[in-house]
């Protein structure tokens, strides 16, 4: 293996990381907040890339994992006092894992569009439960809570400013990226990619394909739940709208626009989409989704590899 491209890759990674670290210090308040939001949606999209890009399963159910992460965090922050950041993470991840396990068990028996449709409908089950179970989830109004402090017991304790929140989110997203990258390059990740390329042959070689798929969905769901926790922390509320399947659809859009199978692509896709929305909403007000939809369809037809598709090999080395 050639060492030089790897070096270039890590230099590129450090430069991007440095730029994102500096972002809240130089950008105005509004754009800094948008940058944090892009990172969170990017994490959600990146988590589903593990399925779409690496395993070849298009999930339309990521809103469920995202939403369960959100409501899990809300549960921890509302029931335990004093509110604890780490407990929120644990609860959120537990909620997402529970949902992911449930969805994975059933949906991985099916392939292609059947998988897509079942994940979609499973996420709607969670939506209906959350929407109608007003006593626990607040129903249509959702739940609001206060942001906990960043604290390590016995060491230090500080309240989140918008800058330190950005850094916290950045650290989590960058860490998740490195973990996901490691997963996709591990023997496990190789099996996932061989399922994508030729499922029948992978099975014939003797890999328990279903088990691999279940683990892949659960891992993906965990990272989606992590994104949900971060979103809950940033916005200090949890609402059923985020469990609705249109969020899953947007997640898929980020992936396709950015380039599937690259992990970074989905973040770029999220950035592209959110910036486009910001830019277009100045001209089209609330109807910005019309041009967004047109651009998306055009990308599906003319640029199926997405924006970063051309550097796919390089990013996966």
């Amino acid at each position: 293996m050639n060492r030089r491209p790897t070096l270039v890759y890590w230099i590129g990674f450090s430069v991007v990381l440095a730029l994102l670290t500096a972002a809240p210090l130089v950008l105005p308040e509004f754009w800094a907040r948008l940058a944090t939001e892009i990172l969170i949606w990017g994490l959600l999209a990146m988590s589903s890339d593990l399925l779409i890009g690496y395993t070849g399963m298009v999930s339309f159910g990521h809103s469920a994992f995202f939403g369960l992460g959100m409501y899990g965090a809300a549960a921890a922050l509302l029931t335990v006092s004093p509110p604890n950041l780490w407990l929120a993470l644990v609860y959120g991840l537990f909620g997402a894992a529970l949902a992911a396990g449930f969805v994975a068990y059933f949906s991985t028996r099916l392939q292609d569009i059947y998988f897509a449709i079942t994940t979609l409908i499973f996420s709607q089950i969670f939506y209906v439960i959350i929407f109608t179970w007003t006593a626990v989830t607040g129903g249509e109004n959702g739940l609001t809570f206060d942001r906990p402090a960043l604290a390590i017991p016995g060491l230090f304790r500080m309240h989140f400013s918008s800058t330190s929140l950005h850094w916290f989110v950045l650290a989590v997203v960058a860490g998740s990226y490195l973990i996901l990258r490691r997963i996709t390059q591990s023997p496990f990740g190789m099996v996932l990619q061989s399922i994508r390329e030729n499922e029948a042959r992978t099975r014939a070689i003797g890999y328990p394909v279903e088990r691999y798929k279940i683990v892949a969905v659960m891992l993906s769901g965990l990272f989606a739940g992590l994104a949900g926790v971060l979103y809950a922390l940033q916005n200090e509320f949890a609402a059923p709208d985020f469990v609705f399947f249109t969020v899953s659809g947007e997640t898929v859009i980020y992936n396709v626009v950015g380039g599937i199978g690259t992990l970074v692509g989905p973040i770029v896709g999220a950035a592209f989409f959110l910036l486009l929305r910001e830019g277009l909403s100045r001209f089209f007000t609330e109807f910005y989704l019309i041009p967004v939809g047109v651009i998306f369809v055009a990308i599906v037809i003319f640029m199926p590899q997405g924006l970063l598709g051309f550097m796919r090999r390089w990013l996966n080395q």
């Binding site: 298009v58 339309f60 059933f106 949906s107 028996r109 099916l110 292609d112 569009i113 059947y114 897509a116 449709i117 079942t118 979609l120 409908i121 499973f122 709607q124 089950i125 209906v128 439960i129 929407f131 109608t132 399947f245 249109t246 659809g249 898929v252 859009i253 396709v256 609330e286 109807f287 989704l289 019309i290 967004v292 939809g293 047109v294 998306f296 369809v297 599906v300 037809i301 199926p304």
Partner: protein, 290 residues
């Protein structure tokens, strides 16, 4: 638990009526899937736009039946347009890309409706206002009429597929696209026609269902999910299967809403779907092929 028999019977009638409308939308979707391998995510939006065309024509002409006809034709043309501009380039690629493309289209159509018609829900008035007495209820004749019209349209589609020249071409294309082309069947036109028929059926059901609900830009969202459930439970591409599944699921939901709120009754159809996928993943009424 004492549920009076009348209520059960009333819910049976309700279930069959909604089931027929659902079957009409679902058979369009399953036709498109079975023949073209296209999962049309925008089907709910075609349904919604059909209802809006109905509202507009009704306002302009005052005739419900003219509105029904106009909506069917307009949405069929729109379907052909969507097919030619966005789906034809995707033919032969992974069916998943068609989900993505039609999802994009549904975003465009839904927000277009919001932009054109605003967020205020419209109403289509019933063309037949008569009632008959069903136990203690005044049951509107119109509901029975829609069930019959839906059944008639589905039956006509079936006859067309079975005996019509284009119908035979359509079935030939389903079996083997390349061979059909070799036999001189104009496959691109056949596919465009199929998409137009499916879309037109969605448009017609939008108008038919309009009087029973409020017409707004988001009505497609509720429907597309139900329709997907029906189509998967019935077996994708299986016309008879989706009709039976539509009635079956609507009946279950109608009975369930005797005990719980309609919003929660949806869970019943989700459960049916899960059970179907567990035990008969290719649909309750799947034939051996596939």
């Amino acid at each position: 638990m004492g549920i009076p028999l009348e209520q059960v019977l009333i819910q049976t009638v309700n279930g069959v009526v909604t089931g027929m409308i659902l079957a009409l939308v679902a058979s369009g979707l399953t036709l498109i899937f079975g023949i073209m391998d296209v999962v049309n995510f925008a089907h709910g939006e075609l349904f919604m736009l059909g209802a809006y065309v109905g509202v507009l024509t009704l306002a302009a002409t005052g005739s419900f039946w003219l509105a029904l006809l106009t909506a069917t034709i307009a949405i069929a043309l729109l379907g052909a347009l969507i097919y030619v501009t966005t789906l034809r380039p995707l033919l032969g690629r992974d069916p998943l890309t068609t989900i993505l493309a039609t999802f994009g289209i549904s975003l465009v159509l839904q927000n277009y409706a919001l932009w054109q018609f605003g967020p205020v829900a419209r109403k289509i008035s019933e063309p037949i206002t008569g009632h008959f007495t069903l136990f203690y209820l005044d049951y509107p004749w119109y509901r029975v009429v829609i069930a019959l019209i839906s059944a008639a349209i589905i039956a006509a589609l079936w006859l067309f597929l079975k005996f019509g020249k284009w119908g035979i071409w359509i079935r030939a294309t389903t079996q083997d696209r390349v061979m059909a082309q070799a036999m001189g069947i104009p496959v691109p036109w056949v596919l465009a026609t199929v998409f137009a028929i499916g879309a037109g059926m969605a448009g017609a059901s939008g108008v038919l269902f309009g009087p029973l609900t409020a017409v707004d830009h988001a009505m497609g969202l509720d429907w597309i999910l139900k329709v997907f459930i029906v189509v998967v439970v019935g077996g994708m591409g299986n016309l008879a299967g989706s009709v039976v599944a539509a009635i079956f699921i609507s009946l279950l939901e109608a009975y369930a809403s005797l005990w719980v709120s309609p919003a929660q009754a949806v869970i019943v159809s989700f459960v049916v779907l899960i059970l179907t996928l567990l035990f008969r993943p290719t649909g309750l009424f799947a034939t051996a092929t596939r």
